[in-house]
C-alpha cells in the first residue's frame, strides 16, 4: 500500500456535547475533520478553538468521552470512529 496520510481515508466524525460541556461550547454537535489520532489529541486541538472550548475542556480529570457510544480512556485511538461524545460525569437515577 502506498504511504498516504491517514486523513485521506478518514470519514468525517460527529462531535456531540452534553450538559455543561454543551453549554460552554455553545453547540450540541459539530463535524470534525482534523488530524487527531487519540482522544487526548482531539481534546488538545478543540481546546485551542476559543474560550468556550477551553472552559468546557480544561478539567480533563472530570471529562468523560464516548467513542461510538462506548466510554473510552484518553489514550484510546479514534481511528474509524463515527461519533465522539464529550460530557461531564453522569448524574442520572
Amino acid at each position: 500500500m502506498p504511504s498516504r496520510p491517514l486523513s485521506f481515508w478518514r470519514t468525517d466524525m460527529e462531535l456531540r456535547y452534553f450538559a455543561w460541556v454543551r453549554e460552554r461550547i455553545g453547540k450540541q454537535s459539530e463535524t470534525y475533520q482534523g488530524s487527531a489520532l487519540t482522544i487526548k489529541e482531539l481534546l488538545d486541538e478543540l481546546e485551542t478553538r476559543g474560550d468556550g472550548y477551553q472552559a468546557a475542556l480544561a478539567d480533563r480529570g472530570i471529562l468523560r468521552v464516548a467513542l461510538d457510544q462506548n466510554i473510552a480512556g484518553g489514550n484510546q485511538s479514534i481511528k474509524g470512529i463515527r461519533e465522539i461524545a464529550i460530557f461531564p460525569p453522569m448524574t442520572g437515577g
Partner: protein
C-alpha cells in the same frame, strides 16, 4: 427485559405486568423508585434531565442484561425519565424479578448503582447549576467489582 427512556410519568403497574406476566417461577420482585426530593427546605424548583439518546438505551440494556446474568434474575426493567421534573415526581424505576428474594434485592441495587454512574443522564437544577456527581455513588458502584 423492558427498557424505556421517556418524558412521561412512569406507569409501574404496567411495567410489572410486562416483566411478570405468565411466569410461575417468580417468587420475588424488588422495585426501586427514585424521586425528585426537596434538597433544602423551600427549594421548590424543578430538575431538568438531559440524556444522550441511543447511548442511553444501549447502556440501560447493558445494565439490565448484566444484572439478569449476574444475579440469575428471571427478568428486569429500567425506566428513566427525561425533561422537566417537579419535586415529588418519579425519575427512575428499576425492577428485578427472581426466584429468591436476595437476588432480586441485589439485582435492583446493582442496576441503580450502575445506572447512577454509567448511564448518560445529567441533572440540571432550577437555578441553572448542574448537579455534581457524588463520590459516594462511585464508591457504591465499586462494591460490585469482582
Amino acid at each position: 427485559m423492558f427498557i424505556l427512556v421517556t418524558a412521561d410519568p412512569i406507569d409501574e403497574a404496567s411495567i410489572r405486568e410486562r416483566i411478570g406476566t405468565g411466569r410461575k417461577d417468580i417468587g420475588a420482585l424488588v422495585g426501586f423508585t427514585g424521586m425528585v426530593r426537596e434538597i433544602s427546605e423551600g427549594n421548590t424548583s424543578p430538575l431538568e434531565l438531559e440524556h444522550y439518546p441511543t447511548m442511553t438505551e444501549k447502556m440501560l440494556t447493558t445494565i439490565a442484561s448484566e444484572a439478569i446474568e449476574r444475579f440469575a434474575l428471571i427478568d428486569a426493567a429500567i425506566v428513566h425519565r427525561v425533561g422537566v421534573l417537579e419535586i415529588g415526581e418519579e425519575i427512575v424505576y428499576v425492577a428485578a424479578a427472581s426466584r429468591h428474594r436476595q437476588s432480586a434485592f441485589d439485582g435492583a441495587n446493582f442496576m441503580m448503582d450502575y445506572l447512577k454512574t454509567r448511564a448518560p443522564f445529567w441533572k440540571k437544577e432550577g437555578d441553572g447549576n448542574w448537579v455534581e456527581a457524588k463520590d459516594a455513588d462511585e464508591d457504591a458502584f465499586k462494591k460490585w467489582e469482582r
